[in-house]
């Protein structure tokens, strides 16, 4: 570089400095537009809401949630949550419940609540509440939400309600289960008092009074359940972190019933399309409920929208022959749990039912699970010749090749030998349909719109009915359960006592399939062994008839696809070894030492 050039550059730099200096003296102190000082965040009514948004954003969601960690579904490679299915869970592979993630969200809530009062008061009412009260209510709700999840996985956990500074002592003991549930319940009440009954406009999707009361209903239902009122672990040093060690169980069921009733009595929610005229309509209504953008059942929801570039990733659950990876296939056990349309149990021992297992079943099955021959959506254009209708094809066709004098095999487009994409997807012989918008085209976009209901009104009705059953109020329970049955196009329950309880448990399993419930339900009901055992899918073959034609009705045979077993330790999740090492005051859950 020659010297003249250097001079030129120096001159221009000096000039630039001078120009800037002359118009603005403090130009070096300009605040960046994408970063904010803490003091600005708490005093700005807009920024403070954006901070709260980040706590909503930490709420875990995906299409399969806990379904592959329990008996609802299995994923590709016939796999599942291998360590969970085979009871190999230990402090060295602990990830269930995402302890660290939940506590990060809880810290954000704590920081928020320590600072919310710095927001200047504004008496303007929106949806009946002031901004400050609404934000405070949302943060209290979210903290209770994350604690409720932690407690559902681990039992009592350290209740951290203030934000630590770097110099603090971080070691904290686990609070008792009772203390945790009381905290969650009280916080839900506190939040409910601050939150609006319903949100309007762009506040839709934020927590409401109903969300807080419904969370309380869930927390108290879980707490009243057998798992937390029976000491299964006789020698365990700290039974108080697993459940109640005294008191009256019936009062807990009463509290659970009252909590559910409080949501019902708000009068703002109702079952979606409660009175279908035909079973087909019941199927359609049920499908519409889970694919609708808004419904009368929405209590705590999250929106996904593809136009906003925040769509839900349907690719993970779409059948492989329709462009997805078919992550969530319902097990044979799940499919078999659906009753016949007349309300009797399905049985593989019934020859007619075994021959055509997907015929005359609970209308909800047809809106929840895709099975061999179930109509889905149009195939990609190059496959229309093979499958003009667009049905799930997991089967194998045995065809007679007269020329060669032997059987040839033709594999379905959604099978593991699919000509579209074979790559080893779930081998349950089914694919998930619930939540899926049939208009979604994987070859255009992997994502699409979705409204996910973390809490829907159906759950509250079921919570109420369960508490009624436990309190011996069978008639009241049946009244509410039969609302769900009617909406589903299924006959009323007439059972009482233990028989009603079993019917109810199956109803909850079917109605709320893939909704992140059963993983917790089988634990709190203490029926772990029913849900953890070798799991089955189905093998589907269109057999060659003796006259060398191919059968039009497939033979559907359950086959084992994964191993499995049960151990009582899995009623509670292990705390990671590293966490145990870092916090000397923690007590590990039973069975993990």
């Amino acid at each position: 570089m020659n010297i003249k050039k250097i001079h030129l550059i120096s001159a221009s730099v000096v000039l630039a400095m001078t120009t800037l200096n002359s118009c603005k003296k403090d130009f070096l102190d300009t605040k960046p537009t994408t970063q904010f000082a803490e003091s600005d965040v708490w005093s700005d009514p807009n920024l403070i809401q954006l901070n709260l948004n980040s706590i909503y954003n930490q709420n875990p969601w995906n299409f399969y949630m806990t379904s592959i960690s329990v008996d609802e579904a299995r994923c590709y490679d016939g796999g599942a949550d291998f360590n969970m299915s085979n009871m190999l869970l230990s402090p060295d592979n602990a990830g269930w419940g995402d302890w660290n993630g939940k506590y990060r969200a809880i810290r954000d809530c704590n920081v928020f609540l320590e600072n919310i009062d710095k927001l200047p008061n504004d008496a303007t009412l929106t949806d009946g509440v002031t901004l400050k009260n609404r934000l405070k209510g949302e943060a209290i709700f979210l903290r209770a939400w994350y604690y409720q999840m932690l407690v559902s996985y681990f039992g009592g956990v350290p209740l951290v309600t203030t934000s630590y500074k770097l110099t603090d002592d971080f070691a904290a003991p686990r609070n008792s289960y009772e203390e945790c549930v009381k905290f969650i319940s009280d916080q839900c009440d506190e939040a409910a008092a601050l939150l609006p009954l319903q949100n309007s406009g762009d506040a839709k999707g934020r927590a409401t009074k109903g969300a807080a009361l419904a969370l309380k209903s869930r927390a108290l239902l879980y707490a009243a359940s057998e798992l937390h009122n029976t000491n299964k672990f006789a020698g365990f040093s700290n039974p108080e972190v697993l459940g109640y060690v005294g008191g009256d169980k019936m009062l807990r069921w009463q509290a659970a019933k009252d909590a559910a009733k409080a949501v019902i009595d708000l009068g703002v929610y109702s079952l979606y399309q409660p009175s279908p005229a035909t079973p087909e309509q019941a199927t359609q209504n049920y499908e519409d409920l889970f694919t609708s953008k808004e419904s009368t059942e929405d209590i705590f929801i999250r929106y996904f929208n593809v136009a906003a570039n925040l769509g839900a990733d349907f690719w993970t659950v779409f059948p492989n022959g329709f462009g997805g990876i078919e992550y969530n296939g319902a097990t044979s056990e799940t499919v078999d749990a659906y009753e016949m349309a007349d309300g009797t149990a399905f049985s593989r021992n019934n020859p007619a039912q075994n021959k055509e297992p997907y015929k005359n079943r609970d209308p909800r099955l047809y809106a929840t699970i895709l099975y061999e021959g179930a109509k889905f959506r149009p195939r990609a254009s190059n496959l229309l010749g093979t499958d003009p209708v667009g049905v799930l094809q997991v089967g194998t066709w045995e065809k007679w090749d007269a020329g060669a004098g032997k059987i040839t095999y033709v594999y379905g487009l959604d099978s593991r030998n699919s000509a579209v994409y074979g790559g080893g997807y779930n081998n349950t012989g089914t694919s998930m349909l619930k939540f899926i918008n049939r208009k979604t085209d994987m070859y255009v976009n992997h994502q699409d719109d979705l409204t996910w209901r973390f809490i829907g009104y159906t759950e509250v009705i079921l919570n109420y009915a369960e508490a009624c059953i436990e309190l011996g109020q069978d008639a009241e329970a049946r009244t509410y359960l039969n609302m769900i049955r009617k909406r589903a196009g299924m006959p009323n329950f007439t059972e009482s006592g233990a028989a009603l309880k079993l019917k109810y448990q199956n109803e909850r399993r079917v109605e709320m399939l893939f909704e992140n419930q059963r993983f917790f339900d089988v634990r709190r009901w203490m029926i772990g062994a029913d849900a953890y055992h070798p799991m089955h899918g189905v093998d589907v073959v269109y057999k060659l008839n003796p006259d060398k034609t191919t059968a039009t009705i497939p033979t559907v045979t359950p086959v084992q696809i994964t191993t499995g077993s049960w151990n009582d330790k899995a009623y509670f999740m292990p705390i990671a070894r590293s966490e145990m090492n870092k916090n000397a005051k923690l007590v590990q859950n039973p069975g993990y030492n």
């Binding site: 994408t34 980040s54 506590y103 951290v160 904290a172 929106y303 870092k582």
Partner: protein, 365 residues
């Protein structure tokens, strides 16, 4: 003051996008410069009429106040996203040398050179998780050294499984983890901090150049020692069988109950191989190697001959790159790049080095 920044977006009212604002980090007001004390002693000599040259250098570098995260001792229940703090202290020491000799003997003109560098760091202070056993501590070991279970063979049969502490669910064909702390069970306490990393502690080279009349020869060997690397294929399972030949050719099967090579595995289905991320020394190999990196032999036609046909010079030559490699590594190249800096995992999506043979003729008119 804590700084807040955007970290994502969230939807309200079906499709209304709002930013999410979060604390980027907890402030550390006490942050200061890292301190590096570097000392070295060197030696340079030329002897025997400059035929022999020797260079040697010893160095000792102490870095302190290294910015590092204190994650290892802060429990998750604190919920903190920690700032970097001046807590690390690392020593790096070693030596480098080069010895060269060149001479002429009659028509022979030759030069030989050997060089090498030895360098090893060890951590003097690091944030350790309280309560971890000494053999898992980072302190005293190299930076980025990993924790592994020690693989000591394969369960040949059920009797072998029954005879040794094992991971719950272990079956014949599974890798045996050593019960390091001898407590009769295999768990996370049996993991051991490795003494090696992906970075060799010794690298060296040897060059040899020879000219004899119109012939010329040059040879370069290079080598490295003291590093460990691992290679795995991503998957394995029904539908996605993807194994290295060396992993399967002598694999354990009921008919061939090997005590050294494990069975084939399913993705996510073996305690010693979860989703392509093994946690044990079976998959970790010493990547020591010596390689004939470059070899070239040439012959130049005498100018008296070339001038006659109007050519200034003409040379024929044969050369080769990476012709020979001496290493115990079988399935990957010891010089393969890492998947990430400091990772021992070989990046399988990068082409290995080519073996190249050139035969050429260079003509100057």
């Amino acid at each position: 003051m804590t700084t807040y920044g955007y970290n994502g977006t969230y939807l309200f009212n079906q499709s209304v996008i709002q930013q999410t604002l979060t604390a980027l980090r907890i402030p550390n007001a006490g942050v200061t410069w890292e301190v590096a004390n570097q000392s070295n002693i060197g030696f340079d000599a030329q002897l025997l009429d400059s035929k022999l040259s020797i260079t040697a250098d010893y160095f000792y570098n102490l870095r302190s106040n290294i910015l590092a995260y204190r994650n290892a001792s802060v429990p998750g229940s604190a919920g903190l996203t920690l700032p970097q703090e001046n807590i690390g202290k690392v020593v790096n020491k070693g030596f480098e040398f080069q010895v060269g000799y060149q001479n002429r003997a009659g028509d022979f003109n030759y030069a030989v050179s050997v060089n090498g560098a030895f360098s090893k760091n060890h951590i003097q202070f690091w944030d350790e998780t309280p309560g971890v056993p000494d053999y898992q501590k980072s302190t005293g070991n190299q930076m980025n050294a990993n924790l592994y279970y020690k693989s000591i063979g394969v369960f040949k049969d059920q009797a072998a499984v029954d005879a040794y502490p094992h991971w719950s669910g272990a079956r014949p064909g599974d890798i045996i983890f050593e019960d390091v702390n001898k407590d009769g069970q295999i768990n996370g306490l049996d993991m051991v901090r490795s003494k090696k990393t992906s970075i060799p502690t010794f690298t060296g080279g040897f060059t040899f150049n020879l000219q004899y009349k119109s012939f010329d020869l040059s040879v370069l060997f290079q080598g490295a020692a003291g590093a460990e690397r691992a290679y795995t294929t991503f998957s394995g399972g029904p539908g996605v069988g993807n194994f290295m030949y060396n992993m399967v050719k002598d694999r354990w099967t009921p008919e061939n109950p090997s005590s050294t090579n494990p069975r084939v595995w399913e993705r996510g289905g073996a305690y010693w191989m979860t989703d392509g991320m093994p946690n044990n020394t079976y998959f970790v190999r010493s990547s020591d190697y010596i390689r004939l990196k470059n070899f070239e032999l040439g012959y130049s036609l005498p100018s008296t001959l070339t001038n006659r046909i109007g050519i200034q010079s003409l040379r024929v030559f044969a050369s080769g790159l990476n012709l020979l490699t001496f290493t115990k590594v079988k399935d990957f190249d010891p010089e393969s790049p890492d998947t990430a800096p400091g990772s021992i995992w070989v990046n399988s999506q990068v082409y290995p080095l080519n073996k190249t043979i050139n035969v050429g003729l260079s003509v100057t008119f």
